[in-house]
């Protein structure tokens, strides 16, 4: 899965450009994120603004990633589209994750 990584000091932003994180994509998504070089960052933020669909498999992958990075690195989320936000609300995962309206802009750009 194609991902783009942006590093700002202690924060790594991983931009997910796949539209659907579903049962067919969840494992590839998870392994692709784990394969990103996050250096010594303490926070990893998934920019999900291009993700229009996520099912419970995708949600499970995000939870799995949070556990993978913990306790040294905190996984945060940004840019949830309406359907993805609904899945997080219904499963109460919106109470578990730090969720930002949008990822910080790349200052170098």
């Amino acid at each position: 899965m194609k991902l783009e990584t942006r590093v700002n000091d202690a924060l790594v932003v991983i931009i997910v450009s796949t539209a659907r994180i579903d049962a067919a994509a969840a494992l590839d998504f998870k392994e692709s994120v784990i394969g990103q070089d996050i250096g010594g960052a303490r926070r990893v933020m998934l920019d999900l603004s291009a993700v229009t669909f996520m099912d419970s498999s995708g949600l499970g992958a995000v939870v799995s990633l949070m556990k993978h990075f913990a306790p040294g690195v905190r996984l945060e989320l940004a840019g949830l589209t309406p359907l993805v936000a609904k899945v997080f609300r219904l499963t109460r995962m919106d109470q578990v994750f730090v969720i930002h309206d949008e990822a910080p802009k790349d200052e170098a750009a």
């Binding site: 049962a23 067919a24 419970s56 949070m66």
Partner: protein, 155 residues
């Protein structure tokens, strides 16, 4: 009341689809369904709820009714827009559901930070009716999604 049989008649818009029980086919089905819902004029929030519930139902069927791939396996779906609900009937020729009724006992959200187990709770939170029947070697799952997003949920 949520069953397709209760939905009055031929005038209501409906669509039918048939797919093999594979994750990639589920994805294609959902993409096509989404386009159809848009053409039917359904609002985005209802379309989102429908897509989530249907995805979870289809994923469950693929995973549990068809543990091994074989020829001749199929899932069919009928979607009908009724007065108060959007009604779905899913049939498949896979293995019967072990407990026989997905709505009893009510599925709960998993405790803590589980990596799975969110599928049925999502369906139950989105649907006012969840029914299961085994008819002539086929699983029949019926779902009703309230068009307003309000009202009593199935479980």
């Amino acid at each position: 009341m949520g069953s397709l049989l209760d939905c009055p008649g031929l005038a209501t818009p409906h669509l039918r689809m048939r797919l093999p029980p594979r994750p990639d086919a589920v994805r294609d089905c959902l993409i096509r369904l989404r386009a159809s819902l848009h053409l039917m004029g359904l609002d985005e929030a209802l379309s989102n709820r429908t897509e989530i519930a249907l995805a979870e139902a289809l994923n469950n069927i693929v995973e549990h009714a068809f543990p091994a791939a074989a020829t001749g396996q199929w899932i069919s779906l009928i979607l009908q827009v009724c007065d108060t609900d959007l009604c779905l009937e899913l049939r498949d020729n896979g293995q019967p559901m072990p407990q026989g009724d997905p709505a009893r006992p009510p599925p709960r959200l998993p405790e803590g930070l589980a990596e799975g187990g969110y599928g049925w709770p999502l369906i139950c939170k989105l649907c006012s009716h969840v029914g299961y029947d085994r008819q002539g070697g086929e699983n029949v799952l019926t779902l009703a999604i309230p068009r307003t997003g309000a009202g009593p949920m199935a479980c």
